[in-house]
Subunit: 411 residues, 2 copies
């Protein structure tokens, strides 16, 4: 019987120091000793990517995306070579591979390339010869043989895609133990989830959970790759991300998330005419600005207020675009409120259970917090609140849905 | 008529700071504006290569050569991306290329790979579309699609090989103005040579002149590529390295060099039997230690002394090997004297002129310096002297052969 293949991905903070690189090498070596065929996927060490970008921007404020990719890809290549050498120093035969050497081909969309295909025969032949393959994450090669990168957190995607092509398990190691019912730094009794569904994980990733990259979760979902999120620094089993687990029947809400990196744009006294909202949101869409939690107040004297949220780093662009739309519409103007946060309850179980939303609103109200706006999806309820009330709101939701407790059939 | 192609190579110290990178970009841009098709070949910035090696050795004292190459190649890739972006920021359309993207294939001899072939069609197509191609020096790709490096100073070789394949001129920029008759820091009236022969340059490179890498000169010689060595930081025309120039008929000695990085091994009281010297030097050859300036004293009472020099960084290895040979031969023992230096006069003209050697020995003796040992080639005379007398010896040779003067037919 062939040995099982496991793809182990390690992020930048797990590789930030020489001691941590040694620890990661030891983890990989242990897995190899356990009888697995191991593929390691590595990110750039610590802040290397940011430092490279800083050096680049000093020379070219708007560098061509092709050159950004050429530069950034070196960070992962360095990590791969260092880990492979550290493994060899431990007597574990290992080779490093760039993205293109590992057979990862992408489209030519620099800085956020999509994987077209993974040709795993080179990795496979190294595994077959008993070696560990250490693959530089985050990168691939386009049809024009240019080096491309997969966007922030893209090493997760590399790992999932390699696991899929090799028929192996996928383990994503970071400095947190897995996916929690809430951020444990904020909600004291937050509980590590043993399992979570792809769709729930996608919502949490979109809400700023750093454990897994959204596109990697999506890829895993599409291709049926189960992803385990676990800690580099302890031996807990972490969280398994997979297709609809039995959990969904037990609990309506799986986790609570806070996204502080949002700002609210408020358009005041907009003439309540057909196409007014479109005039605002078309411009934002064209500029690639993502808009969320849209609320339009009831019309009074032919005028209405429209509020929506955007991520902080797109706030200035959004305000500028909105203001010029206001001028065209003859509206009073637009203001920006950065002092907000989005608190969300996520859970596939809420689809089949009425009353989840009202229970959420009640919990937040009972905590003395005023909800500014609400948006919901099939498996998510988001409430916009004042930023300094976000933590209290999250604690209230966590308690209201008994997330600190292991779910049971009686829930 | 097609535009002329020029390959401009910039070394690490020319790229050590952001300001220097800007200066290099400006030089390249200027050449492009002058109507040339420009290929830039770049080394890693400043001390990047040494820093990477240090990080690697902290993890793996004896790292696999394959992984060393994988790691080090990133330094040049980073430089290439930064320069290409800096050019674009100046409005000069440019793309960076790794060694393999630029079509440089090598053997699989990691850390000192030899170039097998240069396939210039990718570079050529970028030039044809009006762009500057910025190529990462020092690296290539093996038949097994592993990343290889060409050895210290290998970016010079990249530049010469690309110039050959593109039918272009080759310019090697560094922080010195070209090749001098002697080190200007030591010999005050040292003169910049407008031209030098390949064979002379090879001898000077072997003697530690840092201006050009020996293998690059050799490659240029074999393939008929003229190489211009010049400064990044001024506009002097530098030195042209080329096939036998008219100069050779004018002057017997072209330049004087000092190599301080040598040590002398002295084998005392070796039984003067057939094969004794072979017993010593075979072992050194096997260990890859280069030996120079060998002197055997006249035999007395069936015993002889044998002295030779090795480079400082091979001295300990050489002493160890020699000592074990001494034990096998029943010799008294071997000692190491690091307090020596090699002073050489190099010139293709000395082949056809008798008396050059005696003039050199006389000049050194008149400076009050005792010559410990002598070695000569067809175009070189080397004298081993005490290290603290090396500079005086070099000055004496420089003056004796009138090197400060422009050569004339009456010389």
């Amino acid at each position: 019987m062939p040995q099982p293949v496991v793809v182990m991905k390690f992020g930048g903070s797990s590789l930030a120091t020489t001691d941590r690189v040694r620890l990661v090498a030891e983890r990989i070596a242990g897995r190899k000793r356990d009888g697995c065929n191991v593929v390691a996927v590595v990110s750039a060490q610590g802040d290397v990517t940011d430092e490279l970008l800083e050096r680049l921007r000093a020379l070219a404020p708007n560098p061509p995306a092709r050159e950004v990719d050429m530069l950034l890809a070196t960070g992962e290549q360095q990590s791969a070579a260092l880990i492979a050498a550290a493994l060899c120093a431990r007597g574990v035969d290992a080779v490093s591979l760039t993205g293109w050497q590992a057979g990862i081909t992408t489209d030519g969309n620099h800085r956020k390339a999509r994987i077209h295909r993974v040709s795993p025969h080179v990795v496979r032949s190294f595994l077959d010869s008993g070696r560990v393959a250490v693959v530089a994450g985050f990168q691939g090669i386009s049809g024009e043989r240019d080096i491309t990168t997969l966007g922030r957190g893209g090493s997760d995607l590399t790992a999932v895609a390699l696991a899929e092509s090799l028929g192996g398990a996928c383990e994503i190691y970071s400095d947190v133990a897995g996916v929690f019912t809430a951020d444990p730094r904020i909600v004291e009794d937050a509980r590590l989830l043993p399992e979570i569904r792809y769709d729930e994980m996608l919502e949490l990733a979109a809400l700023g959970a750093q454990v897994l990259q959204g596109r990697a979760v999506e890829y895993g979902w599409q291709h049926g790759v189960e992803i385990r999120a676990l800690s580099t620094f302890d031996d807990s089993p972490g969280t398994l991300v997979r297709e609809g687990s039995p959990m969904e029947r037990l609990q309506s809400v799986t986790g609570v998330a806070i996204d502080r990196k949002v700002s609210r744009v408020l358009c005041e006294s907009v003439p309540d005419l057909p196409g007014a909202a479109a005039a605002i949101f078309d411009g934002l869409a064209e500029a690639g600005v993502n808009v969320d939690v849209i609320v339009q107040s009831p019309s009074r004297e032919g005028r209405t207020d429209i509020g929506f949220t955007v991520s902080d780093d797109e706030a200035d662009t959004a305000l500028e675009i909105t203001r010029s739309a206001m001028v065209r519409l003859g509206a009073q103007g637009a203001t920006l409120d950065p002092n907000v946060a989005k608190v969300s309850a996520v859970g596939a179980g809420m689809q089949s259970r009425p009353g989840v939303a009202s229970r959420a609103f009640r919990a937040i109200a009972d905590a003395g917090v005023n909800i500014i706006a609400i948006s919901t999806s099939e498996i998510k309820i988001s409430c916009l609140v004042r930023r300094d009330q976000a933590e209290a709101s999250a604690r209230a939701l966590h308690a209201a849905f008994d997330l600190a407790m292991q779910p049971s059939l009686s829930d």
